[in-house]
């Protein structure tokens, strides 16, 4: 019987054939922690009796969630991370480098066929470049740093075949939101998702990250895609070590294979307060907004900002709207400056913040007021997510967010693009 991508990658790292449901101890290729999870991991590492990180070159710590620090408590936790990183010889991406999930692939730390753990739930992002990457907590992060390994239950897989051709104005975020609505918040709990079909192969690697990023919103442990020519080209420019992509066997076993034809998919919006409450944009068009957010690990990459800049260039955002622009990394910011994308967004009225998580998780950079409505390119709209439980968060593509920022109300981007 053939194997899924998840079974192949975990088997190789466990040193034995392992099938869905089996428990294994496996060696990890890369380990990531961010500033919300690493301080507790450092504490746990020390309590475990840890002295040295087993493979410092396989670890990166990223200060992105509250960066630069807004309060002294956070500053002290950042200082703890800096001290740990320098004493352990571990790579630290300090304030301004960007969001962990944009940085890791961009800086060449993740390769196809890798087994990666990150102390952040959206670690599923790197599935787009064929890495089995999954989110863990701080204690697992500590254990992985200490031993270079972790225990895993091999997940069963669900295959999604995405057929057809996306309409103009419809993007990978709309696909991700559609899938979330279809599968619901716990529809893939404990499963690995495998995405295939023409919709995926037509997308750029950047756009694919958006879909794998949101795999965790349906409870999945990983969101895997195959390493096609686009992926190999993406990593060839970045990864400096040997790697081995993993393809699913034709007779691999899936708990379910679902096929969707997305040729007629409209732009989609997730409405408060659940990511799986997803509607076509026309059903919420006209909803007044107060803040629009472009950025995050879901949609803060160059292509995302470019799409928004095309809509906003030479125009001004609605006077009742604050547009916050958080490039996902320094590389995105620099490239965006070179291409005039940042210029266009700021001229249109955008408020540029430090590359990083931006206002996504309510620590800084744009906490909404009571009763306000936000439209964001992020991946979560839980009550209180952006720091105020009395605000309302809608999730959409960069195009929908940009079009809505112009109009002051939720707007179908296809109108702004005509």
């Amino acid at each position: 019987m053939g194997m899924t991508i998840a079974e192949k990658i975990i088997s190789r790292h466990a040193g034995r054939e392992a099938r869905a449901g089996e428990l294994v101890v496996a060696e990890v290729d890369f380990i990531m922690g961010q500033d919300g999870t690493t301080p507790l991991a450092i504490q746990a590492f020390r309590e475990m009796g840890g002295v040295k990180v087993s493979h410092p070159e396989r670890v990166a710590l990223v200060i992105d969630h509250s960066a630069p620090s807004p309060v002294e408590g956070t500053s002290n936790l950042h200082a703890l991370m800096r001290e740990f990183a320098s004493s352990q010889g571990v790579r630290l991406y300090d304030v301004g480098w960007g969001v962990c999930h944009c940085l890791l692939p961009e800086q060449g730390h993740v390769a196809p066929g890798d087994l990666v753990v990150g102390a952040d739930s959206h670690t599923t992002t790197y599935g787009a470049i064929n890495a089995f990457s999954t989110g863990v907590g701080s204690t697992d992060l500590a254990a992985a740093m200490l031993t270079g390994k972790l225990w895993f239950k091999v997940p069963a897989s669900m295959r999604l075949e995405l057929r057809g051709k996306l309409q103009p104005g419809v993007y990978s975020k709309d696909v991700a939101l559609f899938i979330t609505g279809e599968l619901t918040a716990d529809g893939a709990t404990y499963l690995a998702l495998e995405y295939g079909g023409e919709v995926i192969s037509d997308l750029s690697v950047e756009a694919r990250f958006t879909i794998s990023n949101m795999a965790v919103e349906v409870g999945a442990k990983a969101g895997l895609m195959e390493a096609d020519a686009k992926v190999l080209d993406y990593v060839a420019r970045r990864v400096k070590r040997p790697f081995e992509p993993a393809e699913p066997d034709p007779d691999a076993e899936y708990v379910e294979i679902r096929e969707y034809d997305l040729s007629d998919l409209p732009p989609m919006v997730a409405v408060p307060h659940r990511v799986d409450h997803v509607k076509p944009v026309e059903e919420v068009e006209g909803t007044e907004i107060h803040q629009a957010v472009l950025g995050t690990c879901t949609n803060g990459r160059l292509e995302d900002l470019e799409v928004a800049a095309e809509i906003l260039a030479g125009k001004s955002v609605h006077p009742g709207v604050r547009l916050i622009v958080a490039p996902a990394s320094r590389e995105v910011l620099l490239e965006g400056m070179r291409k005039g994308v940042i210029q266009a967004l700021v001229e249109a009225g955008g408020a540029l913040v430090t590359p990083g998580c931006g206002p996504c998780v309510g620590t800084h950079n744009g906490v909404p007021a009571d009763g306000e409505v936000v439209i964001s390119t992020a991946n979560r709209n839980f009550k209180g997510r952006m720091g105020n439980a009395n605000a309302f968060i809608y999730l959409a593509s960069p195009a929908t967010v940009a079009a809505s920022a112009l109009e002051g109300k939720i707007t179908d981007p296809r109108k702004a693009m005509r």
Partner: protein
């Protein structure tokens, strides 16, 4: 291990932002302080209602959302002895065990807030002392039971130095 306490019932899809909001968790590692904000966005006075040993009881997909370990830690720090739910989100489930917080997957539909419960982790039974009802819990994978028995992954690794399957 037999745990006894009162039930505090919540619904489906209780996410980690509800358990402990991101706006607090980045500021401190002091879980006692964070425990004052447990479930704040759905029940602002919740922390005052908890007596040591009580249970959080929920529906499906408890703990979905972020990987923040503050979620199980804050639940523990508030005095909750175990979480019972119809199902759990994967990362939360793993984190809870790693932090020595028992998580019990069982049919919670008949439990009401205020019910007195008795949870027998060894025998895998939940008894409702108020109604006389009883349900079985889904057994934990062996490695998780071992970690829980040591009081968490930190204690487990301090003892064994590596994973043993």
């Amino acid at each position: 291990m037999i745990l006894k306490g009162r039930a505090h019932v919540f619904g489906d899809d209780i996410n980690t932002d509800y358990i402990i909001s991101g706006k607090y968790k980045f500021k401190t590692l002091d879980m006692k302080e964070l425990a004052l904000h447990l479930m704040e966005d759905i029940d602002p006075d919740f922390h005052k209602k908890v007596r040591p040993g009580d249970f959080i009881v929920a529906g499906r997909n408890f703990g979905c959302g972020s990987s923040r370990e503050q979620a199980p830690l804050v639940i523990k720090a508030a005095g909750i002895s175990a979480v019972l739910a119809a199902s759990f989100a994967r990362i939360f489930f793993r984190n809870a065990i790693n932090k020595g917080l028992p998580v019990v997957e069982c049919d919670t539909s008949a439990i009401r807030t205020g019910d007195e419960l008795e949870v027998d982790l060894e025998r895998g039974l939940v008894r409702n002392l108020t109604t006389g009802g009883q349900v079985e819990m889904k057994p934990l994978p062996g490695v998780m039971m071992d970690i829980l028995k040591e009081g968490g992954l930190t204690e487990y690794l301090r003892k064994y130095g590596e994973f043993r399957l």
